[in-house]
């Protein structure tokens, strides 16, 4: 697992999500990237059941259960600022058994699907984020395979992102700052995806509120 950066691409002015995705993929193909199949990352939210909360009425914590097609045999479970658990796919079945403690939030499933591109040692995944039937945004993930220390190759990643995202290049992800010389792992990628999904959900809520 190399260092990965997950960011959101804002939808272009006057264009739909689909068209922006097509613009991006065309830019990538012009750069020389090869298409290599599809990918999917999805996320379900659970909150701690009311029965387990103390009488003080402390707020329940939100738990996210995510899957990544890059690791088909694994399941990731993480809390917002807490630890990330990497388990195998039987974890989903376990969640069903833990219905008493964790309850699924209504209509909470959010996922991103799209195509993978390979350019030299870079793996680029451009996906459409959907919540239910409607598309809500665009996610861009870039992984640089050879490097495993985040602080080492951020400048290199930035240069590559600029070459095809142009002005929409993101800043350094928060996870890069936390782990200075530690080896980058898949858990960090899932944390980035979780933050992206939360941001999109907030945008959605704000938009709904405005209307």
């Amino acid at each position: 697992m190399g260092v990965t950066c997950v960011s959101q691409m804002p939808v272009a002015e006057g264009k739909s999500v689909q068209q922006t995705v097509e613009l991006l993929t065309r830019k990538l193909e012009m750069l020389g990237a090869e298409k290599q199949g599809t990918f999917c990352v999805d996320c379900e939210t659970y909150h701690t059941a009311a029965s387990t909360l103390g009488s003080q009425g402390q707020t329940g914590k939100l738990m996210y259960v995510m899957h990544n097609s890059e690791y088909p045999l694994s399941c990731f479970a993480l809390f917002e600022n807490g630890p990330c658990l990497i388990a195998d796919t039987n974890f989903d079945v376990l969640m069903v058994k833990l219905k008493g403690f964790f309850q699924s939030a209504k209509a909470s499933k959010i996922e991103t699907r799209g195509t993978r591109y390979q350019y030299c040692d870079f793996l680029v995944k451009v996906g459409t984020v959907t919540m239910g039937p409607s598309a809500r945004g665009i996610s861009v993930e870039v992984e640089y395979g050879p490097c495993v220390v985040a602080s080492d190759c951020w400048s290199l990643l930035l240069e590559f992102l600029q070459s095809f995202l142009g002005s929409h290049t993101p800043g350094a992800p928060a996870v890069f700052g936390n782990r200075h010389d530690a080896v980058y792992g898949p858990a960090d990628t899932m944390v980035q995806y979780m933050e992206l999904f939360n941001k999109i959900r907030k945008q959605q809520q704000a938009a709904a509120f405005m209307e």
Binding site: Y119, F122, P146, V148, S155, E159
Partner: protein, 311 residues
């Protein structure tokens, strides 16, 4: 000397064991002959039976004796492979089809040729160093005379010396660790780990570097058996490029008289790769060129350049 004595002892016991096998075979065939002939004609039935049983017992005893003799001799013969001084290449010589696959004789010729080449190169470099082109030739001339004329061939160095040199280099740089192993005979194989950036497998021949393979920090360098994998290339294009550069480097750093200096300079050059992903190209200032970071390190100044940007 001891090897020769052991070999002759084995040969004696070996030939005795072969004759013991022949004796055993004949005694066993005697048993079956006796069974086949059946009872000899004697006056009474008892007499016939007794004679038959006595004959049969005699034959079985002789079989037993021969078998014990054979067991004793086989313990003496021992394992031939333990005294095999040639290891894997000697097994090639056991191939009987010499006309179609003369591998072993070709191998011996190639080995002798490369040894002779090494020796001649050493002599030539000694002579050439005496005829220095520099004006201040006095220092070089004096040391050339002080150096022994008959240069011992640096191809046959004791493994302990090689270990010492490598250990000293290991302690030179804190971010570089070198692990030495000898899985295939006397040639050393080093696994150099440079920070968290890359791993290099260096195959050596006494103190000369033969081949290098550069792989990523998270890539697997061992085969399924747990041995060091010295053949498979890296999965990443950047490390395949660095492997090519490392091969160029080991061809560049050459000094037949002082191989430890060569290894030291190679390791110093390799150490400059600790900033493989952080250093921009000195010529164009960018990080990426065709998707690759600056992979070339100048041999003298150790500056980073893209492969296409170097002079």
């Amino acid at each position: 000397m001891a090897d020769v004595i052991n070999v002759s002892l084995n040969m004696e016991a070996f030939s005795q064991a072969i004759s013991a096998i022949q004796a055993l075979r004949s005694s066993v065939s005697r048993v079956f002959d006796c069974l086949k002939d059946g009872m000899r004609n004697k006056e009474t039935l008892e007499g016939r039976e007794k004679a038959f049983i006595a004959h049969f017992q005699d034959n079985l005893h002789s079989v037993n004796r021969d078998l014990n003799e054979l067991e004793r001799l086989s313990n003496l013969v021992g394992k031939p492979s333990e005294n095999h001084p040639l290891h894997n290449s000697g097994l090639l010589s056991l191939d009987p089809v010499q006309d179609k696959t003369p591998l072993y004789s070709q191998l011996l010729q190639a080995y002798k040729w490369s040894n002779k080449l090494q020796y001649h190169a050493g002599l030539a470099s000694g002579l050439l160093n005496q005829q220095s082109l520099k004006r201040s030739a006095n220092q070089m001339g004096v040391s050339a005379k002080r150096r022994p004329k008959a240069q011992p061939t640096t191809l046959v160095l004791p493994p302990q010396y090689v270990d010492d040199v490598i250990n000293r280099i290991d302690r030179m740089f804190p971010e570089m660790s070198i692990h030495l192993s000898r899985p295939n005979g006397t040639s050393a194989m080093l696994l150099v780990t440079l920070g968290k950036v890359l791993k290099v497998i260096v195959v050596m021949r006494s103190l000369f570097i033969d081949r290098t393979i550069v792989k990523g920090y998270n890539e697997n360098v061992y085969t399924e058996d747990g041995k060091l994998d010295i053949w498979s290339k890296s999965n990443y294009q950047v490390f395949q490029k660095v492997t090519d550069h490392a091969t160029t480097a080991l061809l560049h750093y050459q000094l037949p008289q002082m191989p430890d200096v060569v290894v030291r300079s190679f390791m110093t050059w390799l150490r400059s790769y600790i900033k493989l992903f952080q250093a921009p190209c000195q010529r164009c200032g960018k990080f990426l060129q065709d998707g690759l970071p600056p992979t070339w390190r100048d041999f003298r100044t150790l500056e980073a350049f893209h492969d296409t940007c170097r002079q």
